[in-house]
Symmetry: C2
């Protein structure tokens, strides 16, 4: 028993982008003509033409440019606006597919019970949400220590309750997301002291936003992963932080939540 669902983008109440049409657009992009694309999909030329026409009419800007006559009899090409739309749909669909997978996992269809904790589609205020792969899980009596290996190679340790690990059905090798508030990220100049905190990650300051009381420091830890720390402007001055400088970001493992 599994879930399925097709994503449709509507415009003025009319269906606008559907899976079949998207498939056609990709074929047009590849072959440069509606007729060849129709054969490739496959569908009849008439259906294909009507679909393209409907999309072009519904859209604010044209999605494809059609030319009749000419060197090779003409042809049809996707406009930059159309490409953008294709890309948008791709991302939306990916997110949707991911959601359905997660929803299936979380549901016990026979009993109708939800094994999840909390709502599924939620945005979280935490600025720091970093993906990684579960490296090791050490189960204690009540707590569990989960080590996440980030793309940058750094390891980030999270301490959560054992029950939370079970609820998430986390296992070594799973992809997971480390979540922590920017206010829990401390900064230190490298090579000075040894801290008890388990997570200390080296990076470079990519941006500093100074406020009256607090300042926001973005730390690039490599491979497009960026941490955000909020510290006092006093601390900023004391540490003499500057954009481009090297820095250690320190996060208590008990401040790190996990998501998957």
């Amino acid at each position: 028993m599994e879930l399925s669902s097709k994503l449709t983008l509507n415009m003025l109440g009319e269906p606008f982008l559907l899976e079949k049409r998207i498939e056609l657009l990709y074929a047009i992009e590849e072959y440069g003509s509606i007729s060849k694309a129709a054969k490739a999909v496959p569908m009849s030329y008439k259906s294909a033409w009507e679909a393209v026409d409907a999309m072009n009419n519904l859209s604010e800007q044209p999605i494809v440019q059609r030319e009749t006559g000419g060197k090779n009899g003409g042809g049809t090409t996707i406009t930059p606006y159309g490409s953008q739309l294709l890309e948008t749909y791709r991302v939306l669909k990916e997110e949707h597919t991911f959601f359905l997978e997660r929803l299936s996992q979380v549901t016990d269809i026979e009993s109708g019970a939800f094994k999840t904790i909390g709502r599924l589609a939620m945005q979280i205020s935490a600025r720091n949400q970093i993906q990684g792969v579960v490296d090791t899980i050490e189960l204690g009596a009540v707590n569990a220590k989960v080590s996440l290996k980030l793309k940058s190679g750094n390891r980030l340790v999270s301490v959560i309750t054992k029950e939370a690990v079970e609820n998430l059905r986390l296992e070594e090798g799973d992809r997971a997301t480390a979540i922590f508030k920017s206010s829990t990220v401390m900064l230190a100049v490298p090579g000075e002291m040894q801290l008890s905190a388990r997570n200390s990650i080296r990076g470079n300051i990519s941006h500093i936003t100074v406020g009256e009381v607090n300042a926001e420091v973005m730390v690039d830890i490599g491979h497009h992963d960026v941490l955000v720390a909020v510290i006092t402007t006093d601390a900023l001055k004391t540490l003499k932080l500057k954009e481009g400088g090297s820095i250690m970001a320190i996060i208590k493992s008990s401040d790190v939540m996990l998501g998957r």
Copy 2:
């Protein structure tokens, strides 16, 4: 421009539960017969009968019980198993609808950009996820203080960055979820001391699980809202906590994240 999508439950590759069929099942539940239900939906009797037959064949256990002949000529009723399936579908659909709404909000279809922070469909390890309504938002230079009014009437204050408030597009009156780790919940016997922590919520201990080092205490704060605190077993003894006892749960506002 908006997103839409219909949720289908498949069984052995065949469509099993679809929106139309669910509608029909609800009508059968109401009228007690396929023929009346078909009129109400509306659809032809034959379509209705075939839909019901297909579902009953695909399902492990029968979804409806059909009887021909008898006092009123017979009739069709939903089995308990069928009711359960209806309820499951209802919840799944609700979650799906919510996801689509959120996905629409988060997407700027014209530019194809995502205004979201992080992935949408995520489960979070935090045990404490409590729904409420945003009461007040006080914007500071960098931080924002958001007060959430819970079903129980209690208020829970969260301090997050101003930018997070903007990203979530939080406004007063919005529903939101307070998220915090069980290890950040402290417990105190009522009426003893005044704490600096903004959030102190009175409740009753509904359950205690004692481990070797730590203990998990569940605090019922009313209206089916339950907080989970993990404290040391030492603290448990010192405070002489017992199930049923009255207690204060204390949470630092900077430990509370928000989701919506």
